[in-house]
Symmetry: C2
Subunit: 415 residues, 2 copies
């Protein structure tokens, strides 16, 4: 989608920046923003759920008080608002993670956390272990540092630490990190079992690498049992957050609003000190006023807002699952997420989900993200991510029916 | 100031991240935030000037309208708010730069712009040309990419392109960029003459490198003639922004408030496309709500606010210059800035401004930034940056008197 232009500056770019391309997916998503198209594409929270009145009240509360306003409109420390960090300390404690404010850094969404972590650990040719599929924004954040990706498998696998070490050696770099979205994953919707978590931590210990626990959806479970966070599980054996190898990334985007751009990292003091230095050089600090508003939202409304979001998204998930069951032809399978925003569908091998997308938009009036974008190796061409968070309930039903109709036609054409 | 801890992760860090240290200056500044200390240290705008009522009104205006609120609280495009970009297009036109919205990227303060630009151009051992002294935040942003710095001189110099090329070759890398703060520079307070600008652009053309024009203070001239922006001057000869080698970084932080974290880059479409990709992977987008508020501030209040800031800061500058003239002993010299926030003072060679700082804080009750922090090579030990923007007028007079008293004592001790 990016216009190809003659580049004057190519010889001057940093070597790692050469051949960087815009995410074709993000560019694609721009085109999907058409009136009349039902979008299952972006992992976009439902704006009807944004606590607009509360946000308005809190901005006003802060700005109408001269002393608070001056602080909220001034430069502030790179680590982030101390009240908000303290709230996150309490929140992490409910997940079994005992930390203090020095273990928390506020970031501009968890995307920024991933970018900082990638920069801290990855040199060109180093190996990052990621699941297949995995979050495309993580691939984008890490890829700036030119890693090699190896597929992380921790359930039903006989891959050993030696296997991964050999692969990293063959790639002429070091093994640097493992990255997972353990709860209601983007894009698969799947949750890593307790056993898988134990395996992952064992593997990480054998390899002596950090584990990035990206957990923006953890507050949105719709049913099933809560599985312990990787960070809490790791602390059970290593004894303390400062000894832990897990770097936990959280976000307020999916619960409250992505518009304030506030996420956090909870990790050992060593790691937090290092990424705080990166934050200083990158943008000094996240907007103090937004952090102050988020502190009020979190401390006054977190449970209420979570309950509201869960009630609404659970219905949408159920409606999408029912529509898939009712309309999809044989040969199509999909995940059944216990939470989060995504269902992952697999079409018959013969169907290329990316090639199908223009037809989906133009003929069926629906959009999704083709699954290959979530694969470091570009595989998964017959897969797609369907997000149920944004469309209205009635549009989910009709949209899936349209998609199923299109898929049936494709199957017929190919047979 | 950073605690030295045993690092578990040192072997896992990316090679370019090893030995990165927190800015000792930023850590120092934290300590200076003591009650009773008159701070000439940070380049911090006066919070009394923040248009608090207008900001409150605009947040409310946006959030009380359901459609606007939903947009402002949602994910948005990496390029930035289109209304705000359009306003910046008009603003750049008043500086002689004809652009369109595709030439503008919104960043989280101009610090983020510098970080992106450093990442785009600099590989380890490449040379960046910077003045001595230069903005320490630029050094921090660029240094993450491990450049070599060479001193940029364009006034009263016989340094040729060949001189710089040889130096870069000796450093085993390529010449990648020249960075300047041409108006009321941080930290020197000086403004690059038109002749110096012509020389700089000629040099950059000979070297075929981009010129980073960092211009956060341009809206704050207190007297003297306006000098044409480097970007406009370059366009006069190259014909268009898309052919220009100047990357102009602007900011709303010094005029309105740094708390919303909004700056911009104006450059050729090629450069903007590239740094937009970096922005996508770094934090997706700057907060949409803050951009919407800044658009209202800029379009409704820019001239009024600029006039208010100029009137206030001009008085403070004059008071500081008068106090320096009245109290400083022979052997101390200082710049006379035509705008901006800073005066640059040079003490006798024998006095180390960093070593003097603890005494300044504890005995004189004043703070400043030691000048060596603004030198890529750590020189300038007898210099200091004095910012007049934050303290009250009466504290500027008494603070400079105290500082002068301290300096006189030091001169006496050393003689």
């Amino acid at each position: 989608m990016q216009k190809t232009e003659k580049s004057h500056w190519e010889p001057r770019y940093a070597s790692r920046e050469k051949r960087m391309q815009a995410s074709e997916i993000r560019d694609l998503l721009k085109l999907l923003d058409k009136p009349g198209v039902v979008s299952f594409a972006g992992g976009i929270p439902d704006p009807e759920l944004f606590p607009r009145d509360a946000i308005e009240t809190y901005y006003q509360r802060i700005l109408s008080d001269p002393a608070n306003a001056k602080r909220a409109l001034q430069y502030s420390v790179s680590e982030g608002d101390s009240n908000l960090r303290q709230w996150i300390v309490s929140h992490m404690a409910t997940k079994g993670v005992i930390s203090d404010a020095d273990n928390i850094l506020i970031t501009s969404g968890s995307q920024q956390a991933l970018e900082f972590i990638g920069r801290l650990f990855i040199s060109p040719n180093d190996t990052a272990l990621v699941t297949a599929p995995t979050y495309l924004g993580a691939l984008q954040a890490f890829s700036a540092n030119k890693p090699v990706y190896d597929e992380l498998k921790v359930e039903n696998t006989n891959r050993t630490a030696a296997f991964y070490q050999q692969a990293a050696q063959d790639a002429d770099g070091d093994l640097k990190l493992a990255y997972v979205v353990p709860n209601f994953a983007n894009p698969s919707g799947e949750t890593l079992s307790r056993e898988g978590r134990v395996n992952l931590l064992g593997l990480a210990q054998d390899l002596d690498i950090p584990v990035i626990e990206d957990s923006p959806y953890a507050a949105l479970p719709y049913d099933g049992q809560d599985v312990i966070t990787l960070q809490a599980l790791n602390i059970e054996s290593c004894g303390s957050i400062d000894a832990s190898r897990v770097i936990h990334c959280g976000s307020f985007s999916k619960v409250f609003t992505p518009g304030l751009r506030i996420g956090w990292v909870c990790a050992s003091h060593e790691i937090i000190s290092r990424i705080t230095i990166i934050k200083q050089g990158s943008d000094l600090n996240s907007p103090a006023i937004n952090q102050a508003v988020m502190h009020l939202l979190a401390s006054e409304l977190f449970d209420t807002q979570v309950a509201k979001a869960i009630a609404s998204y659970r219905i949408k998930r159920d409606v999408m699952l029912a529509a898939l069951a009712e309309h999809m032809p044989e040969g199509v399978t999909w995940s059944r997420p216990d939470g989060g925003l995504f269902i992952w569908a697999t079409l018959p091998e013969s169907i290329n989900a990316q090639a199908l997308l223009p037809k989906a938009v133009e003929q069926a009036g629906i959009a999704y993200v083709p699954g290959h974008a979530f694969h470091a190796d570009g595989s998964g061409k017959n897969t797609m991510r369907l997000s149920f968070s944004l469309p209205r309930v009635e549009d989910i039903t009709s949209g899936i029916e349209q998609l199923a109709h299109l898929v049936k036609g494709e199957i017929k054409d190919k047979s």
